[in-house]
Structure formats: C-alpha cells, structure tokens
Amino acid sequence: MAAVETLDQASLERFHTELIAHGYEPSDDDLRDWRGPAPASFGALTGAGEMRLMFRDGWPYRWPACYVEGLDLEHVTGTGDVCLWIPGDESMEWVTFEGVLNRIEEWCTDAQRGFPDQPRPLDAHLYFRSKKGLGLVDLDGLVGPAPDDGAIFPMRGQPRHGGRVVRLSRLPDHLLALLQQSDTDIGGRAYTRDDILHPPRSFDEFRAALTAEQLRDLDLRVLGPIESGERELALALLVWRIHGARNALLLVFRRVSTGTDLFAIELAESDVKTLTLRSGPAQAVLRDKRVCLFGVGAIGSTLAVALSASGLGSLRLVDGDILRPGNVVRHTGSRSDVGRAKVDVVRLALSQDAVWTGVDAVREEANDPGRIAELINDADVAIDATGAALFTDLVSRVASLNATSLVSAALYRGGRISRVRRQREGVMPIFHRWNKPGAFPTIPIGDDDLIGFELGCSAPTANASPVSVLSVASLAARVVIDLLSGALELPDEIVDVLETVEAPFDSRGWVSFEVESSDD
C-alpha cells in the first residue's frame, strides 16, 4: 500500500488532526488505518473499545471504512465493516470526524430501534466468503409469495456463462431423478423462515436459523451427498422475512480433499417486479397498452426497446426487411443477428429482456391500406418509424380513418434534423400538414444527406449517425408515452435541430408547432 491518493490533501489532514485530538493514532506508515476509542454510541451495541477507520484512495469522494468488532447487526458486513452510508451517498458528511461521529450516533440509534425500511441490507452473502457470480432466483416461483415458516423446497441450480451465473428454480419431487442424471445441474434445498432478525453470519448461525426438520434435511439432502462423495456441489437457500421484506442467502457446498468447502453467492431476483424496478414511472400506464410499430430499423428497433423496457404490455412489429451487416451500428441487433428478419431480432431480444411485453412479429411490408388498418385496429397507438414520406402519408390517412392515434418519427439532412409528429383525435392529421407550409415549414433540401448504397440493397442509405437515431427515438418514445399516459404535455409537432441548417432551423433545439384542430 501507499499513501492515500487524494485531490484534497488539506481535508484529509484536517480529518487526521481531528482523529488525533480524539485519541486516534495511525497503525501503519501509509496513514490509512487509524485506531482509537470507539464512540460511546456503540456502547449499547458492543463491548468493543476500539474503532478503526480505513482511508481509501479517492478521499474525500469515498468515505473511510469504519470497523468495530462485536456488532451482531444488520448493516455490518462479515469483515466488521459498519455500513454508515449507502453506496452513492452524496452528503459528504464524512469529510469531518465530527460528521462521522454524528452519523454513527444516528446509526446506533437506528440499530437499537430498528433500521428504517430504506435502505434495506439485502446482501447477506457479504457475511461469508463470497465467490464472484450471481444466483438468479424468482423467489415467488421458487417458494411462493407467502411460504409457510419452516417449509422445505427441492431446487436445482443451472450454471450459465461458465458458472458466473447459477439460475435457481424449483424442482418438483417427481423430477428429482433428472437432477441425479445431470452432469451440470446442482441439487439443493430452499428453506423458509419467518422473522429472522439479522442475516446468518456464519454456518453455525445458518444452521441455528433452521427448524429441526430443516436441519435434518440440510444434513441429509445437502451435506450428505457431498460428504459421501456422491456429489461435488450442493446448494442451500435460506429465505426469510425481516421488517416485512424478504431476504435470502445462498450457500454453496463443495467437496474438497480436506472435507467440505463453503462459500456464498450474491443473489439477484429475476421476477418481473424486480426486472421492471428501473422501468420508470410510466410502466403502470404502459402495462395495458398496445402499440403497432411500422419500421423496425434503426429508429424503430431503438424505440421498440425503449417502450418495452419502460413497461409496454403489447407490441406489434411490422417490417419485411432483414438485418444486414451495415445496419448493426444503428440497430439494436448485433452482428450475430445478421441475416434474420429485423422483427425477429427485436422480438427475440424483448422476449429475454422485457418478458412482460407480448410481441407480435409481422414480417411484411404493409403497403395495403386494408392490411394497415387491420394491423393497427387493436392498437392504442401506431408508430411510423419507416422514414418513408409516402408511407407516412398512407398510414396517417389510414389511422385517421381508423380513429387510431399515430406518432411518426424520422431523421433528415444526415441526422441533423429530427422530426416527431403526432396525430390524435381532434388534432390535424399529419397528411394535412403537408399542405400547410406556413404553419409547418418544410425541412429544406440540402446536399448533406451523403446517401450511399450497398450491395444487394437498392434503397439508398442516409448517413444519420447512431447518436441522432438515439435522439429521435428517445423523443418519439416520450411523445408516445405522453400520449398513452394522457398527459399531452408535449407538442404534436416537434422539429429537433441537432445541428443547424438553413432558416427556420438555424438554431439548435426544439422548434415546436401548434397543431390546429382537425378541420376534417
């Protein structure tokens, strides 16, 4: 080790001075590890008289790690690291020792009264020697949403990606024989308990947390096959409730020459609720909505992923094209998808990453008004991401006749200009706006499209950048969500000038237009 790397040596030295004044001294030459009397606040929680503060590179952006022995509590790792702040905390109250002491006092008060629900320590593996990797589990699927206290469930772990991921699933008793025949799957048991106050921090505590029947099961079904040499690996999953929430710990037992080795693996839930935690506030609205998307190219595929990831319930993809190598830089598909239908590429991706979105892949060029009407008939909104003006006109007319809302998104002038138009009930249809150049200025023609051609494809290729694609897809997704949520806060016609061209698009940013009521 070397001295703490910091861009603010002054504040580090000021903190050190505070420590000295409080009876702390460094225990190493690098001045990283300081030891001194444990604050009185800890007195009710541990008999330990000493506290260690470990300074890490990156001070003061990183707080000093705090270690006190004998704390048998939540928010303390197996190495004795007292978790005073949650990752990402920006308070910087640790910049002074006084700030650290204040936080410790708060922490100790919480520890005695019960920690608040947020943040909740759901990282029980940290108390054990951990191996890198993830145990994927849908707890509802494995043990049910409200399992009985003391229940036992057979399960299997299926290693993936070279063992970096183990997918856990329930295995009915009648399929146990399959597990015996498998060379790769790992057998195990899941145990449920109510009201365990803190995560087990040792194997002894793990055993103590089980009922007598669970303990017998652990010895017989998990440890037994390891100790007898019948299996190399076995799993034990403990699921319990704490403060009304659910916590779990996965232990892996491995046969080694000296006996049985034990380590923990970090768990990650894979149920829909967890998968949509980051889907944003619109998911409640999108869950029951249906979208029909024409054009699953660069803009369309990005839009499809954005809407699905945001919680969309149903998506119909319409495109007859296949993915070509040159598409990949702007498309959500990858090189390994080349040669497959674009709709299938996106459908497959969504079936893995957005399982809540029902996807209907329609591999065709829909140019027949009747067919278009059929495709959009059950949709809450149709989206045109074809970038083809004639199709935009056609779908606009069909949607208007069909009383289906439409959002059309396209890039122009080599991606310098993006335009998102929306037509909905009571608003002038898009096809009418062509005839209103005063109200909706046309995007001037320029020589900056740099249109190219590639072998096997007679359609010209515009050189809009992937960044422009992301930008217009993002804007279109916002306009769609604005429509589906009923907020209607965004304009119905937006031109986003990403790079300036001629007037009236000669300054960057949005140019939005008031769309009159439909005069049809």
Partner: protein, 343 residues
C-alpha cells in the same frame, strides 16, 4: 494568516491521548511496585510524573517518560549508590532484568513497557531532599562516593519547572488561550526535524524557548508572528557567545551536560536558516506558499506532516480547488442516478 494550521499543528505534534494514558498507567504500575517495598516506604517513597510528559511540552511519539522517585525521608546525606541500588533491585524483582536498563553511566533506571502496539520507557529517577528542592545522583558515577554531598548529588526541581511552565503559559496567550506550552511543542518538533538525534536535545530548546518567551517575545494574536519571533530569538541566542550556559529556571543551575561546541555550531546554523525561512514565510501574502514553507520547517512525524495544509492548497504551495466544500451540494440538489445507487 495560518492560525488554524498552527493550532492544528500543535495537536499533530502532541504526544496524544493513547500514549499519555499509557504513560499514566506505567507510572501507576511503577509507583505500586516501589511502594510495595518496605524499605522504600520507610524512606518515604513518593513518585510523580515529570519531564515533558507532565509539562505537556513533549512531542509525538514521546517514547520516554520520567518518573521522579522522591525519597522524602532521605536527604543528600544519603549515598546515591544506596538508593539507586535499592530502587533497581525492587524494579528488577518485579519487572525482571530483561526489561530494565540501569548500567553506568545511567543515574536512573529505565523500565520498558509495551501494550497494544505502544512502547514506552519509564525512567525512574531517584531523588532525595536538598534544602526544599531535590538532589538526583550525579551523572558521573565516580563521584557517587564523594564526601561532598553537593558533588554526589545534583540540584534539581522538576516540579517547579512544571509550575513555571504553567505560569508562563498563562502569561503568553494567543486568542485568549495559553500559547507558550503548545509553542514549545512546535519548537521541539522543529528541532527534531532539523537536528534529529543530534544534540542539543528537546529540553535544551525548551529552556531556550522559556527564556525567549520570558524576555519579551512578540505579544500578538497571530501564531505566524509569534512562532517566527520565538524562532528568531532562539536563533539569536544560539548564535550568541553564552550559549553553553542555559539556566534551568527552576533550579537556576546551568543545563547539564552542556552541548559541545560543534553541536552548538550546527544547531546555530540550522536555526539561523529556519528563522530566516519563517520570516520569509510571514512576508508572503500567498497562504499556500507560506504554508509550504512552514510545512518544511516543522517536518513530519509518524502521523504525517506536522503542519497541515490550508484548504485550497497543495503541498507544493500551489492553489487547488478544495473538494470538501462540495459537501454543501447534497441538500441543495437532487441526487443523480448511477454509481452504487443504480446502474
């Protein structure tokens, strides 16, 4: 200009609470051992912590602690050998020979202590009464059997020196707080940085600081000026002709044994430069540049640099943007996403 940094420096060079408490525990143990001996009790054994530890002028890490073993029923008629051997035997009987140092030319018995990474040596100094003050054995063992008691014993009054130190600390204040004692710690640290294990040692400089402070050091509320003035006076004293005679203000006897000529010459040279640097630092208007000079003057101890950097300065004397002020940002601005919070 750098008052906060000087105050923090006095903390950073201080011995520190763990060692001070450890020294007290060591003293209590030594006292208990000595008081358990019948003969020493008969001689009126009474121990007291003396030296820089007791005067709060000691600097980190401060590995030596002086315990004054007053034999209140004996006076200088006693033989140094008799009391020295008795104390040695009692300590040896309890701590064992391996933890003791008592061979000549020592006039005190050193006992080694170790606890939880801390190491201390307690120097037990035998003392007998001498006209209201105290006599300790002469450093020259050959004189311990001299017929003249004032040759066998050396006059001292460490407790009085402690009182004088406390008094002077009350007289010399900066911002209504005693400044002399913390200033002595800084002077001792500066000496340590400049001279290391060379002589003159810390007590010699403490006495120089005492007389400098006594003789009209600048009365100011500015630590920079105060320390620079003190250093200037000490440098001038060292450069003078009577440097070999520095009086202990408590016993009014010369500091003994005096430093040699070459030792004094070297110390005078070093402190002339230090005083000049200090004056130059004070003439600067740039806080960072001034701090960098003081940082070099005070040097390092096991806790790092003794003179801490002011906010917004690096250790080269350059201005940098302080980061810690970012802490005020949190409550005023919504938190972003990312990092450990989300990904």
């Amino acid at each position: 200009m750098l008052g906060t940094q000087f105050l923090e420096a006095t903390t950073r060079v201080d011995i520190g609470r763990p060692r001070r408490l450890f020294a007290q525990r060591c003293h209590v143990e030594v006292r208990g051992v000595l008081e358990s001996d019948a003969l020493l009790r008969e001689w009126g054994i009474d121990t007291v912590l003396i030296g820089s530890y007791s005067r709060h002028t000691g600097i980190h890490p401060g590995r030596d602690v002086d315990v004054f073993c007053k034999l209140t029923s004996l006076d200088v008629a006693a033989e140094p050998r008799t009391v020295f051997d008795q104390i040695t035997d009692v300590l040896k009987g309890h701590f064992g020979d391996a933890r003791l140092e008592y061979d000549p030319p020592r006039r005190s018995i050193k006992v080694a202590f170790s606890e939880a990474g801390l190491e201390l040596a307690v120097d037990a100094v035998p003392a007998v009464r001498w006209d209201g003050r105290w006599g300790i054995p002469n450093r020259d063992l050959g004189l311990w059997s001299d017929l003249n008691s004032s040759v066998r014993w050396v006059l001292t009054d460490p407790e009085r020196l402690g009182d004088l130190t406390t008094d002077l600390n009350g007289d010399v204040e900066i911002a209504e707080r005693g400044a002399y004692v913390p200033a002595v710690r800084l002077i001792r640290q500066i000496r340590d940085t400049a001279l290391g294990d060379e002589k003159p040692g810390g007590l010699y400089f403490e006495l120089l600081a005492y007389w400098a402070a006594k003789s009209g050091v600048a009365r100011t509320d500015d630590w920079d000026l105060f320390i620079a003035d003190l250093l200037g006076r000490i440098a001038a004293e060292l450069a003078g002709s009577d440097t070999s005679i520095v009086l202990d203000p408590a016993s009014q006897t010369p500091f003994a044994p005096p430093p040699s000529g070459p030792e004094l010459t070297r110390a005078a040279g070093e402190f002339a430069q230090i005083a000049a640097d200090a004056a130059a630092a004070n003439a600067l208007t740039d806080v960072c540049e001034a701090a960098a000079i003081w940082r070099r003057i005070l040097g390092e101890n096991p806790r790092g640099w003794c003179f801490p950097l002011p906010d917004g300065c690096d250790d080269e004397g350059n201005e940098v943007a302080p980061i810690s002020s970012v802490r005020s940002r949190g409550p005023r601005e919504a938190r972003g996403y990312g990092g450990g919070r989300d990904a």
